[in-house]
Amino acid sequence: MSAPIIEIDGITKSFGSFKVLDGLSMKVMPGEKLALIGPSGSGKTTILRILMTLERIDGGHIHVEGEQLYHVTRGDDLVPADERHLAKMRQKIGMVFQLFNLFPHKSVIDNVTLAPMLTKGVARAAAEKRAMELLDMVGMADKAKSMPSQLSGGQKQRVAIARALALSPKIMLFDEVTSALDPELVEEVLNVMRRLAEETDMTMLLVTHEMGFAHDFADRVLFFDRGRIVEEGKPDDIFRHPKQERTQTFLRKIIAAGHRV
């Protein structure tokens, strides 16, 4: 059995007096596809944001590929990581956002080539070749010269996926990537993610309210409530035979709200 790619150990995080994460621990194996579900405010998005270093943790430790994410050893001491260490660790991780966050002043292809050219010194020609492959994979090659404002939400999100893939991360974080989309545009984004899950061995963490997709996509489902993991297991076990009452209540509410399981 190989070592976990992500190891989260007793992390805490508060926003003001609101404790979002309360001593959370979890492990993710390389290549694993994980779905994080739960009511809003349960801390699942915060975990992704912490892994992307968009939020700092208040306490605890995170290891990515065996290396501390937020700490470095200096002599015998463990001290908070500096920006250089964080930048190094960020190379392993990519993120796709709910609101796409494409760079609106750059064309589709420039959105995808920007980071490889700036952060890895890839030459323009090579970066564009790779970008076209990725855009082709997400079905957006014909829009390479378009500006983001000319795209639909689903198209924007597919470009955002290509942009995140351009840095070849080992871990991909998907934060409610279909929540801001019109219903008829959800499927095109989910299809891209299905292909990605089948064709790559990337580790993927997915925060979602699409229970049907989580069921098909994930190797393991974690149900969050109030900053803790209430229940985890195989998709069938969580969705068909939830053991915890809070999981049952949550799934009932979700189904009542019209989501397919």
Partner: protein, 219 residues
């Protein structure tokens, strides 16, 4: 008193000299204000409280005192501590500093208008702080604020006659000296007004164009 066209043509070369200095002072002052405004806006965002607070206080102080007083200070008081500046340099520094505190607010609003998601996407793309500023934030922040910046530069242009107080030979000062030595005011002062009006009108058209060109952000 009658309008004398001969006198107008006679003083025209000197007046044009004044126009030239006025335009130079405005352009240099605008460039300086654009830079100083950016520096103030960035320093006010510094995580170091001492830096952000003291820069904020200095900016409020400059904005809260008259430009004329600042010009006197720069030109007549600074020499006491050994800083001797030519009139034009002192004038440009005064204009740049004073209007820089206004353009800083334009920059602040422009930067704040860039959605937080852009900062986060830049981080997720692993861009460094400088790359984030130069490739992501400023290219989005600056175009919408160009009309507001241009507005301040036109306002600055119309305040350049204040520079006559520190002996800069700009348009107003030339007109005054012509008037004083010839005992005729109507032609030189009218010409000052006419020059300012023509240049202002041109700038307004430029401003309208800038607003059309940059006024709207695409999201």
């Amino acid at each position: 008193m009658e309008w004398d066209w001969n006198f107008v043509w006679q003083i025209m070369p000197t007046m044009l000299q004044g126009v030239k200095i006025t335009i130079i002072a405005t352009l240099l002052g605008s460039a300086l204000a654009a830079v100083i405004g950016l520096v103030i806006a960035l320093l006010r965002r510094s995580p170091n409280r001492i830096v952000s607070r003291s820069v904020g206080f200095a900016a409020e102080f400059i904005r809260g005192t008259p430009l004329l007083v600042q010009l006197y200070f720069i030109f007549y008081v600074l020499p006491d501590i050994g800083i001797l500046l030519s009139p034009l340099v002192a004038g440009v520094i005064g204009l740049g500093l004073h209007y820089g505190t206004y353009t800083a607010e334009v920059y602040r609003a422009g930067i704040d208008n860039v959605p937080r998601g852009q900062w986060e996407a830049a981080k997720a793309c692993n861009l460094g702080p400088t790359q984030t500023w130069t490739h992501i934030i400023m290219p989005q922040a600056i175009p919408p604020m160009i009309p507001a910046l241009a507005n301040y530069f036109i306002a600055m242009f119309k305040e350049t006659p204040l520079l006559s107080a520190i002996t800069v030979l700009e348009l107003m000062n030339q007109a005054k000296s012509i008037a004083n030595s010839n005992y005729r005011y109507i032609e030189p002062i009218t010409l000052v007004g006419a020059f300012f009006l023509v240049i202002s009108l041109c700038s307004v058209f430029l401003l309208r164009w800038l607003e059309r060109r940059y006024g709207r952000i695409e999201s």
